[in-house]
């Protein structure tokens, strides 16, 4: 069995073999430049020849259109060679930007941490599309209008996931409202919307003016929306 535990992890002073998930479809191979390359369900996520060079080429090709961005949303982590290449490029150009990586497979992220350690960027791994759009940090990040960097092997491996992420549309019903706003029945607003079915559209309850003082917030938001449209026009 010991031979099945190829990785060694440390905890305190005790060394013990890192247990490999027997059902795991993730394998690690090493490139000619001696860098770890993940292979998941037979799909190799980076070049086995020179993953760094490959990542630098990927970033170089698509960078011009993203030059003015102050935030980057990266689709797929792999083992992060393309993220490091992006960081290197930004540094060389003197651009300060935030990076958020979306990785659908949590196992890849764990293995990445084991092999490479945490990088100077944020990673959200293993979350469903619905969970992502309920995550405040993700929403805040999207408000920076980030440039999107696709890691082609990861994107192709999870094409439905990433396409779903890009085409997601909010439902605007009470269930979603309750979840995003973290309302429970003890709050005034949570209690007030209890009488409606979860799929009721949020504007349906707004027109009943039953959410008391919070109604003014809805009025305010509609007015802000109008001023933004006006200033854009």
């Amino acid at each position: 069995m010991v031979n099945d535990w190829p990785l060694i992890a440390t905890e305190g002073f005790l060394m013990y073999p890192y247990p490999q998930n027997e059902n795991s479809t993730l394998q690690i191979k090493y490139s000619k430049t001696n860098l770890p390359v993940p292979i998941i369900r037979g799909v190799q996520l980076h070049s086995l020849y020179d993953p760094v060079k490959e990542a630098e080429n990927l970033i170089e090709v698509g960078f011009e259109t993203l030059r003015n961005k102050k935030a980057f949303l990266v689709f797929g982590l792999g083992f992060g060679f393309h993220v490091s290449a992006l960081l290197k490029k930004l540094q060389a150009e003197g651009i300060q930007a935030d990076i958020l990586v979306i990785e659908p497979e949590e196992e890849i992220y764990k293995k990445y941490l084991d092999h490479c350690g945490p990088g100077p960027f944020k990673v959200v791994a293993g979350k469903s599309i619905g969970e992502l759009y309920q995550d405040q940090e993700f929403i805040d990040f999207l408000c920076y209008r980030p440039g999107i960097v696709k890691h082609p092997p990861s994107f192709n491996l999870h094409v439905q996931y990433f396409k779903g992420l890009l085409s997601y549309r909010a439902k605007n019903n009470l269930e979603e409202f309750r979840t995003i706003c973290g309302l429970n029945s003890e709050t005034e607003l949570g209690n007030l919307i209890n009488d409606f079915t979860p799929d009721t559209h949020i504007f349906e309850i707004a027109k009943y003016e039953i959410i008391e003082n919070d109604y003014f917030l809805i009025g305010m938001l509609n007015a802000i929306g109008a001023t933004v449209k006006e200033s854009e026009a």
Partner: protein, 518 residues
């Protein structure tokens, strides 16, 4: 009064413009903590003040993105807004809504929780706009439709809040040591260019947000040339931190073989500069309002008479109105006049030069409004006459102050009194009739009340104000609305009687006086 919140969701100039209210409030309530709530994009202006206890912001840009829908739920924007306002809280003794816009009206309702601790406009529980007092009602519902602005917004708020028109309490500004040192360096270098102590620095801010507010490149060149030519004046160009301003300044400087002093500064840097200059000649920009708070001497330059009375500098200033259609290519004469006025203002002298064709000069005092000093233009005289008449009408209607300006119109006013009173009495008879009433009937009676030239006489002003206030009390109950409407008609009738009596008294005293003279 312990905690006061100013809400101002407008641009930089408006934030500085509201500094007058800040001064007045600081004087009236010396122990109060005053905070401001503004959009994040305008908070740079608020940060120039050292006096705000807190600067709260709402990120409109972020909300705008979230409100576009698509992947973003309405709940995201709701949560974002609610979180932004959490730090603001509800514990305010006074909330002053200086913005008069829909967003700020909702915001005022939300933060005041419909308690009676606000000034300005907000929504009531029935979703109708409600106004804190007569002045605010007039400014929001009647003034907006007038061709001239008899009282500027800050005058309205000064009256609404019952503040001193000339507050002595200074506004405290943020000044950075670096800015102070570099300003001193610039001005000490400038002093070496001076031949005598009789030379004064004239800062010029000649670009604004729109071409109709800005001086053209040619006009700017001619004005600077005239200041250079004046033996006691030396021009300095102020440059805003924008690409357009820099290009304009560069073009001007090239025209003067790079001999112009130009200073580029942000708002905090401007605080240091405005303290060091002798006078500012400015078009209608945010800088002028900041300068007014520094008590810098001001000469305002206008090219559009429609904008003249709207937002004068709150410290008081001289204003030159140039009609481009009449001045044409002969701006040199106007520029020479402006340079001479500049010298008179610096010396605290009356304006001695005669206005050239197409050029008029006014004075603004926050207590007395505008005075026309000199013009040869008939349309400007008419415009000013209209301003004075409108101002007298509003002051009479809202403060019962009968001004002699109105004396000559006494007969017309009394005739209008009878005409409007008859419509009020007709409406009252209709509302008082027995039997059921419908909402349609009430609104028809309201519409019949409206005079043709709405808001151009004291009676029309008062009727408009009271009608707006009554309508904001309407609800879903038609009978309750009838009661509100009847009360409004009766109150207004009594107030009309008081106004009429003042006019009659004045008329009689004038006639007695004439009789004695005879």
């Amino acid at each position: 009064m312990k905690k006061i919140l100013l809400i101002n969701l407008r641009r930089f100039g408006d934030i500085f413009y509201s500094g007058q209210v800040l001064k007045g409030l600081a004087e009236k309530y010396p122990k109060a903590e005053i905070s401001i709530l503004t959009y994040q994009e305008s908070s740079r202006a608020a940060r120039a003040f050292a006096q705000f206890q807190n600067i709260f912001t709402v990120d409109r840009e972020k909300l705008g993105i979230l409100l576009k829908g698509g992947p973003f739920s309405f709940a995201h924007s709701f949560k974002e807004l609610k979180n932004s306002l959490e730090s603001v809280g509800f514990e305010w003794d006074l909330i002053v809504n200086l913005s008069n816009c829909t967003v700020s009206a909702y915001l005022t309702s939300y933060l005041s929780q419909l308690e009676n601790n606000y000034k300005g406009v907000r929504y009531n529980a029935n979703g109708f706009l409600e106004f804190s007092d007569d002045w605010i009602t007039w400014a929001n519902e009647i003034m907006v439709d007038l061709s001239v602005t008899p009282f500027s917004y800050m005058e309205v708020f000064t009256k609404s809040l019952e503040l001193n028109t000339h507050p002595k309490t200074p506004v405290e500004f943020v000044c950075r040591e670096g800015h102070e040192v570099s300003t001193q360096n610039i001005f000490s270098r400038l002093h070496t260019f001076r031949d005598s102590d009789q030379i004064h620095t004239v800062a010029l801010q000649l670009t604004a947000s729109t071409p109709e507010k800005s001086a053209s490149l040619q006009e700017s060149k001619e004005l600077i040339q005239q200041i250079f030519s004046h033996q006691n004046l030396y021009p300095i160009l102020l440059v805003g931190p924008s690409k357009e301003d820099r290009i304009f300044a560069q073009a001007l400087n090239e025209a003067f073989e790079n001999s112009l002093f130009s200073i580029e500064a942000d708002f905090i840097g401007l605080n240091s500069i405005l303290k060091s200059i002798d006078i500012l000649i400015t078009v209608d920009t945010s800088v002028k309002h900041l300068a007014a708070l520094h008590q810098t001497k001001l000469l305002e330059l206008y090219f559009n008479q429609e904008l003249l009375f709207k937002m004068p500098a709150t410290s008081g200033s001289h204003l030159v109105l140039v009609d481009r259609n009449k001045v044409g290519t002969a701006f040199t004469t106007s520029a020479q006049f402006i340079a001479n006025c500049c010298w008179d203002v610096l010396q605290d002298h009356d304006i001695s030069s005669k206005t050239p064709a197409g050029t008029s000069i006014f004075n603004f005092d926050p207590g007395h409004g505008f005075s026309l000093i000199d013009t040869r233009e008939r349309d400007v005289k008419e415009l000013y006459g209209n301003y004075v008449y409108q101002r007298a009408c509003v002051a009479f209607a809202l403060e019962m102050k009968f001004q002699t300006t109105l004396s000559v119109f006494s007969k017309e006013l009394l005739s209008e009194y009878r005409e409007i009173l008859s419509t009020i009495l007709a409406a009252y008879r209709e509302m008082n009739a027995s039997g059921p009433i419908s909402a349609k009937k009430i609104f028809s009676a309201i519409n019949n009340l409206e005079p043709s030239n709405y808001g151009t006489s004291p009676f029309q002003v008062l009727l408009g104000v009271r009608k707006t206030q009554a309508m904001s009390k309407f609800c879903d109950d038609v009978e309750a609305n009838r009661k509100v409407f009847k009360e409004f008609l009766l109150t207004t009738k009594d107030e009309f009687l008081n106004l009429k009596q003042s006019i009659v008294n004045n008329l009689e005293s004038t006639q007695r006086q004439r009789h004695h003279e005879i």
